[in-house]
């Protein structure tokens, strides 16, 4: 154990590292926004949607939740071109994250919707709101509030899981770390640094989501 740390050789690769961080942030920003939106739509469909839509959404959710993220990524990036759908590395990575988070957040949000009392729906309906309006204006916000901590954790998990998109050469933080390591051979230092950055990103993301929660839900949930 007389390893000499040497972070100096990373210096010249800082732009690469920095670019990797930006790409990871971009991935999670797009993945979380559209993934949660897809999840909310699917949760609505499964809990309250038309009969014909339920099995379709259920099939999608089970497919995604019972297969590895890496295989989903390969299927989308390497498989889809065979049927004429060409995606860039970034598009492939983003699409996979959206589809993956969409399925997981569907189940989380659905739990929140199903905890809504019948009386909330009936109050909305009796005031003349349609089923959709009642969902949108009465049910959705308290439902999200109930499951916000679980949803936040899932978003952070997807952010951390996004490291595997380097496998299709999307130039995210893990790609940058691999790249630098292959040039300067300082594996310990660069992965130590990458770990610290992922940790910082995860903590920041959690805080951001908590802040968003405070903004979205000014009151504590009471039912």
């Amino acid at each position: 154990m007389n390893y000499t740390f040497d972070f100096s050789s990373i210096g010249s690769y800082l732009p690469v590292l920095f670019n990797g961080i930006l790409v990871t942030i971009e991935l999670i920003a797009v993945g979380a926004t559209f993934g949660v939106a897809l999840g909310i739509f699917c949760a609505w469909a499964r809990a309250l949607g038309p009969i014909w839509l339920k099995p379709i959404v259920a099939g999608y959710v089970e497919l995604i939740r019972n297969t590895p993220f890496l295989i989903q990524l390969f299927f989308i990036f390497f498989g889809l071109p065979s049927i004429g759908i060409q995606l860039t590395e970034m598009q492939g990575a983003m699409l996979t994250m959206v589809i993956n988070l969409g399925a997981y957040s569907c189940e989380i949000v659905r739990a929140g919707i199903q905890a809504t009392t019948k009386g909330q729906f009936e109050a909305g309906w009796s005031l003349g709101m349609t089923r959709f309006e009642t969902f949108r204006y009465v049910v959705l916000i308290p439902s999200l509030q109930r499951i916000w901590p679980a949803l936040s954790s899932q978003i952070v998990l997807v952010m951390l899981g996004s490291a595997v998109v380097s496998q299709i050469a999307a130039e995210d933080l893990s790609f940058a770390a691999n790249f630098i390591q292959s040039r300067n051979f300082r594996a310990f230092e660069i992965y130590f640094l990458a770990t610290a950055i992922y940790l910082a990103l995860a903590i920041t993301l959690r805080q951001l989501l908590r802040g968003l929660g405070w903004w979205l839900f000014p009151r504590k949930a009471t039912r």
Partner: protein, 243 residues
């Protein structure tokens, strides 16, 4: 011309026929109390009038709006007749004022400014003008129920359905809600209420409906129904509730 026409209404839950041919016509500004044993179908009838339940036979119309199962007809019906629930059902993520504003803006496309003015007006009317910005956990049960009344009134319905609206309240809070209802009755609002408050029914109602096993067993002005029950069932029911 009756405001509410209930004609030969039958309602089944599976094999269980809960309403077995109900006929009641309600004139505008009438206040009607529904009394009867648990399970006699009082709530089900009120819920049908608001379209929260479908009916199997017969018809219900409120000011010309007929109960039909599609969303367009349901909306038309519900704009004529509002409903107050035993459990208040305020929207927990909104303030009292926003609770009263929401459906005006969503359903009637009223501007935010007009909706707010209406909300303040209605909250004043139920004595809660100062609670515009309060959330439900900052309100007592009686206050929550009064917000629910204001919320229904803001849609300017022609009639209100009240299903045991004081039953979930602590006894000392019952009167503040009944006082609001009494005021509405005085102003000419048409009210259909399921209630266990016999004294209130006697004082305020124009007619009392005694329901028994899914039928209107007796109907008449309170003096008659309470003082002079014609059937042994009503006699027994009144005996049970008054001791």
């Amino acid at each position: 011309m009756s405001l509410i026409e209930i004609t030969e209404v039958k309602k089944r839950f599976g094999d269980n026929e809960v309403l077995k041919g109900i006929n009641i016509d309600v004139a505008a500004a009438e206040v009607i109390a529904f009394i009867g044993k648990s399970g006699s179908g009082k709530s089900t009838l009120l819920r049908c009038i608001n379209g929260l339940e479908t009916i199997d036979e017969g018809s219900i119309t409120v000011a010309g709006a007929q109960l039909l199962p599609d969303e367009i007809h349901l909306k038309a019906l519900r704009l004529k007749v509002g409903m107050i629930f035993q459990q208040f059902n305020l929207f927990p993520h909104l303030t009292a004022g926003r609770n009263v504003m929401l459906s005006q803006m969503v359903v009637k496309k009223v501007t935010e400014k007009d909706a707010e003015a209406m909300a303040r007006n209605m909250l004043d009317r139920v004595g809660l003008g100062h609670k515009f910005d309060a959330y439900q956990e900052e309100l007592s049960g009686g206050q929550q129920q009064r917000v629910a009344i204001a919320r229904a009134l803001a849609m300017q319905p022609m009639a209100l359905l009240c299903d045991e609206i004081t039953s979930a309240l602590d006894p000392e809070l019952v009167n503040e809600v009944l006082a609001v209802v009494k005021e509405l009755a005085k102003e000419g609002m048409t009210l259909l209420m399921v209630t266990h408050e016999m004294r209130f029914a006697r004082e305020v109602c124009s007619r009392v409906v005694f329901m028994h096993q899914g039928r209107v067993h007796e109907i008449g002005p309170p003096e008659e129904v309470f003082a002079n029950p014609k059937t042994p069932e009503l006699n027994q029911f009144l005996g049970v509730t008054e001791h």
